[in-house]
């Protein structure tokens, strides 16, 4: 056989496998409004950058007549490619092949590319679209999941891991995305749950649709399992590309720097925040008034909106933002917002991204439900994450910073490197109304006109303590600054802390209040 014929044979073999589950299955996939695994990889990666591995892998299952079945690529596509020139490892489950079910060789392909990404120190992207374990392969399939989870954990904090849910992802399979850093979902396509609607109906008698149980909206608004929500696969891929542009390849490198740009003139930080601490505003406008080109990339926009997290650039470099949002629940810390902030802080810290914290909160959300859901241990995560973080921590107190909330939001006491406060800042144990009621209880009670006395005492307290100068007098605040100076001073802070190094006590690992 000559070389030409051998090459022809290769072409033929490739052609057969590239069709995945065949024309009919591909049609079915399209009818569900979904792209095929291959189309997804092509749309996400830079043109012509995809290099596929393990195209000719075959399964080894022998039971249940499986030996007679051909499953092209064993239902998953793996390889390397680039996004805006940044290298990534990628796998995409192919629903057209046996419903994307995970058998032993399927899992081995995934773990191969995972090992590769950890070795090459490049981000891993996993596109999930699978019916779950391949039941015919029994415990080998379970072993496969376990091997994936183990690698997710091993890679955590070394390389960024991104999960894209573009189909069903149910049962044990959901735990791989849950272990990764960012989860993307698409309206009507993504479905994630541990036990499906059928089981819930038989066991508990509760009737619920897949969409209401674990659809894209549920995970981006109620559970917080998803970080990014898109209306279409195309929009989702744009979001992934944008995220990849903000994060570094691994925990040794810094994120790629861009051309520095001034914020847009329509976002004037001095005109956004009302002086009265009881009045709301959108803190995202303040962030947009600080970051390059007013380009703020928000994460988990629709979940726990009382805290805002996301990336922006300053002087071209990636910065992580954590900000209380007075527009929602007055910006309080609660169970969900604590979880949201803490995890993001740890991501930034692991990947050398400086953290800017904008503070304006009245404290923690009161309520039996919060207490019983464990706001103590959830709230503790924020303290832990900030204290542990060794990247540059820059704090700007915009307005109120009361009580435990003040301490938690990257205060000096948790080793913030720079603490700025606007003249509107109120750093105190609690709001003037609450404090006056306690401190002057006797005077108020005994006064002829208790209401008048209360008002007077609140006023007195406000004048004396509702300002940044008491904290500044102790050095808890480094400088009281004008809102217009914020960007300039943050840029300075980033510049001078570039070579920051701190030594933490040696340990195997800490024990955060998970």
């Amino acid at each position: 056989m000559g070389l030409k014929r051998k090459i022809l044979e290769l072409h033929k073999k490739r052609e057969a496998v590239l069709k995945g589950g065949g024309d009919k299955a591909i049609e079915k996939q399209a009818a569900m409004g979904k792209l095929t695994a291959r189309e997804r990889i092509i749309s996400l990666l830079d043109p012509d950058s995809f290099h596929e591995y393990d195209l000719f892998v075959e399964h080894e299952a022998r039971d249940f007549n499986m030996d007679k079945k051909i499953l092209h690529g064993d239902g998953v596509i793996i390889g390397t490619g680039t996004i805006y020139g940044a290298p990534v490892c990628i796998f995409a489950q192919d629903f057209t092949v046996a419903g994307g079910s995970l058998g032993m060789m399927h899992a081995r392909k995934i773990t191969k590319i995972m090992d590769h990404s950890l070795k090459l120190k490049v981000p891993l992207i996993g596109i999930n679209d699978s019916g779950g374990a391949r039941i015919q392969e029994g415990v080998n399939s379970l072993a496969g999941y376990g091997e994936i989870f183990f690698r997710n954990t091993l890679s955590s904090g070394v390389i960024p891991q991104i999960s894209v849910i573009l189909g069903p992802c149910a049962g044990g399979a959901v735990y791989s995305p849950a272990l990764t850093d960012f989860v993307f979902v698409v309206d009507k396509i993504s479905k994630m749950f541990i036990t499906g609607p059928e089981v819930i109906k038989t066991v508990l008698g509760e009737e619920i649709s897949m969409e209401d149980l674990g659809g894209a909206k549920v995970h981006s608004e109620i559970t917080g399992n998803a970080h990014f929500y898109a209306k279409s696969e195309a929009e989702c891929f744009e979001q992934i590309k944008k995220l990849v542009s903000f994060i570094p390849w691994n925990n040794i490198k810094k994120a790629k720097a861009f051309e520095p740009k001034e914020p847009k003139s329509e976002y004037k930080v001095s005109e956004i925040v009302p002086g009265d601490p009881r009045q709301p505003y959108d803190v995202r406008d303040v962030i947009k008034g600080i970051v390059d080109d007013s380009d703020f990339f928000e994460i988990q926009e629709n979940w726990a909106a009382n805290i805002v997290i996301g990336f922006g650039r300053m002087n071209g470099e990636t910065i992580g933002f954590v900000a209380n949002q007075p527009l929602v629940l007055a910006g309080v810390l609660d169970v969900d917002s604590s979880d949201k902030a803490a995890r993001f802080i740890r991501f930034c810290d692991a990947f050398n991204i400086p953290i800017i914290t904008l503070v304006d909160l009245p404290g923690y959300l009161p309520g039996v439900d919060q207490e019983h859901m464990g706001v103590i241990r959830h709230g503790a995560k924020v303290l832990y994450a900030y204290s542990e973080a060794t990247v540059s921590k820059i704090t700007v107190i915009l307005r109120k910073a009361y009580g435990g909330g003040y301490i938690a939001m990257a205060s000096r006491h948790l080793r913030a490197d720079f603490v700025f406060a606007w003249p509107t800042a109120e750093i105190a144990v609690m709001g003037p109304e609450g404090a006056a009621n306690i401190i002057f209880r006797k005077e108020i009670m005994e006064a002829e006109d208790p209401d008048k006395m209360r008002k007077q005492k609140v006023k007195e307290y406000k004048e004396k303590f509702a300002n940044p100068y008491v904290a500044a007098a102790r050095g808890y605040v480094d400088s009281v600054i004008e809102p217009e100076e914020t960007r300039k001073l943050i840029l300075h802070a980033i510049d001078v802390s570039d070579s920051k190094s701190v030594f933490l006590p040696q340990k195997k690992h800490g024990i955060p209040p998970f």
């Binding site: 066991v203 008698g205 005109e271 709301p280 406008d285 929602v328 629940l329 009361y402 609690m430 709001g431």
Partner: protein, 111 residues
């Protein structure tokens, strides 16, 4: 001062009281749908899971001790012995052998 969307027609800000101060802000769905806490009535015994009554050990009007088995409830392929949370006379008994019960169904009430 920049107008925020608090004055929007679609959604209005509400006030949230925290330590004596009223803040103007949006509330979120989770907050609005939160369950109000009520003290548990020890004399009322509810199902905590849907299931089938396999066996009934007591009758209406019977005096039971704390921890005494009341009935056997099969749920999730497990047979759960439901015991009395307190001592007392059974005032109401709203279950039958073989009956299927939903979650939060009042099974019995003590006097």
């Amino acid at each position: 001062m920049k107008k925020n969307d608090c004055e929007g027609k679609k959604k209005r800000c509400r006030s949230l009281l925290i330590e004596g101060t009223k803040y103007k802000t949006y509330l979120n769905k989770k907050y609005e749908n939160r369950k109000f806490w009520k003290k548990k009535d020890e004399k009322k015994i509810f199902t905590f899971i849907p299931g089938t009554v396999v066996k009934l050990y007591v009758k209406k009007g019977q005096l039971v001790k704390k921890g005494e088995p009341l009935l056997l409830l099969e749920a999730m392929k497990m047979r759960n012995i439901i015991t009395s949370p307190a001592e007392g006379k059974i005032r109401k008994l709203k279950v039958k052998e073989g009956g299927k019960l939903k979650k939060d169904h009042l099974m019995a009430e003590l006097e």
